[in-house]
Point group: C2
Chain length 314, copies 2
């Protein structure tokens, strides 16, 4: 499974754990990195000093490479970028913003930069910005999502046509077969969120994990298109959102309905009634909570089996 992504990051397997608010602290990131993938600390839900603590704990827990994900609309973005560089972070995943803003600054400081996109148009912008690799994330992914609503199956060939940059596929991948399929469609690696959000080491609330492990087909939908599209599990809060949207609610009305801190309430505190429950569509096929090490082992084994099956049958 060695390729230009494993070489770029210095990892064993082309498997990246997505940076996810309220799920991916040092414990998950270190576990993924220790198992041969690339773990990512999600800075989006951390105060600057919390992030510093997570970086330090991650470094203590693994001697393997790991990364930090920076949502570029983070209020004190300059502060956490400087902090991360000071703490010796070597790989940055940036998202939800313009790749040109921070890439040169990070590259000058020796940091490998990966930017997350949901369109081929932004993939080209990433190339111009000088990033080292891109994550292309499809419509089926959990949480915040592109306006184009392009699915992983359609996005990967489009991005592959637009740029030759190392490409990490995201959205809908939770099996070894999924990783191989993404590679067939032009990816060099897979970024996996949902599956890792539901492992033992994820910092999500146990009630949230149990709920996600029990959902079925059609139980996540894209909501809040008038604000910023986000994939959420159905429930009290999304019923209220859907009702407001069906009745023609404006962006301001939706913003008021959303309020503040709902993702924390849902994912971290386990409030399944009023919290914002972000998870990917692929959760519907996941029914068992496992350790990160078990997940990594199965992904690698199933990838190999899928490859062997193709070899034998063709």
């Amino acid at each position: 499974m060695n390729n230009r992504i494993t070489t770029l990051f210095g990892i064993q397997y082309p498997i990246i754990q997505a940076g996810m608010v309220w799920c991916s602290g040092w414990r998950l990131a270190a576990a993924v990195s220790n198992a041969g993938g690339l773990g990512i600390i999600g800075a989006g839900s951390m105060h600057p000093e919390t992030l510093r603590e997570h970086i330090r704990k991650c470094k203590a827990a693994t001697d393997k490479p790991f990364a930090v994900n920076f949502p570029l609309m983070y209020p004190q973005i300059a502060e956490i970028m400087q902090l991360a560089v000071d703490e010796g972070v070597k790989i940055a995943f940036t998202s939800a913003g313009n790749p040109k803003t921070w890439t040169p600054w990070l590259k000058e400081r020796g940091v490998t930069v990966v930017h997350v996109v949901s369109s081929a148009k932004f993939a080209k912008k990433c190339e111009e910005a000088g990033v080292d690799a891109i994550v292309a994330e499809g419509f089926e992914a959990g949480g915040h999502n592109g306006r184009e609503e392009t699915t992983t199956f359609c996005l990967l060939p489009a991005v592959r046509q637009a740029t030759s940059l190392p490409l990490i596929a995201a959205g809908g991948i939770a099996t070894g077969e999924g990783i191989l399929a993404a590679m067939v469609l032009g990816a060099d690696a897979a970024q996996i969120g949902t599956l890792f959000a539901l492992t033992d080491e994820s910092s999500a609330n146990q009630a949230f994990k149990d709920y996600c492990l029990a959902i079925g087909e059609g139980d996540t939908k894209l909501h809040l298109r008038k604000l910023s599209p986000v994939r959420l599990i159905k429930g009290n809060f999304t019923d209220a959102v859907a009702q407001a949207e069906d009745a023609g609610a404006t962006a301001d009305e939706l913003r008021e309905l959303l309020g503040k801190g709902r993702a924390k309430r849902g994912i971290f505190e386990g409030d399944l009634e009023e919290g914002e429950l972000e998870i990917g569509q692929i959760a519907s096929i996941i029914s068992r909570q496992q350790s990160t090490a078990e997940v990594m082992k199965e992904l690698v084994e199933d990838y190999q089996k899928a490859l062997d099956k193709l070899r034998i049958e063709n």
Copy 2:
């Protein structure tokens, strides 16, 4: 590329051309079958006597197997089923209805039955109904679409878990790599709509084909969720729909706005302003009109190249 789907239909390649209203008459179906795939006449947009004419012309134009697609909400469904059997149709693709209604009747008459689903739940119902194979169609597909909004990447593993029936993947596939990726995810064959709708032999209006070949990312969206979800290209009509939906229009109001015959007006007559323009998300990567024979040749060659690439790299 021989497997249980090619054996079931008696075809050379596991490539099925989707039955599509106003696109797939005898000319397209016969061309696909002559090139080694399975062509399908789309009965949904034909009066019974028109369907009879298309079946006869298709039989005259090819001695290879072909199929007819029957949307089960067709008003005179019993009449066209009998007509198709009388005319010697050997393979039926049924969609938009309960697989139990027609499967036994068709099977008793020696017809191979394939049903189209958009969920694992309905895939299981197909198994109970005794169908010979299923098509699992993802959210990215053009035209009418499932309520679960499950994408091809998430739908295939879910259906594969639910049933061991021969499985044809649909939605977002327009390349040889796409066919191989679908197979890695558990499919035995690929059903391709959009790419064939834009070939020389498609009966769609040239203005419609040209428009589809020029669209880009994010230019198709799922609309009319309150009626029956359908993927359409952005334009005058979908702007009016989106505006009505944003303002909280009811299902009845949307039905009135939709009116009758808009798909014919858009796809067959080429009215890009007021017609309903059904096409898949993958149209954004297709920019050239080709003959069906060229399309089939490239699909098979690119599939083989993708397979060889995996063998060499791994």
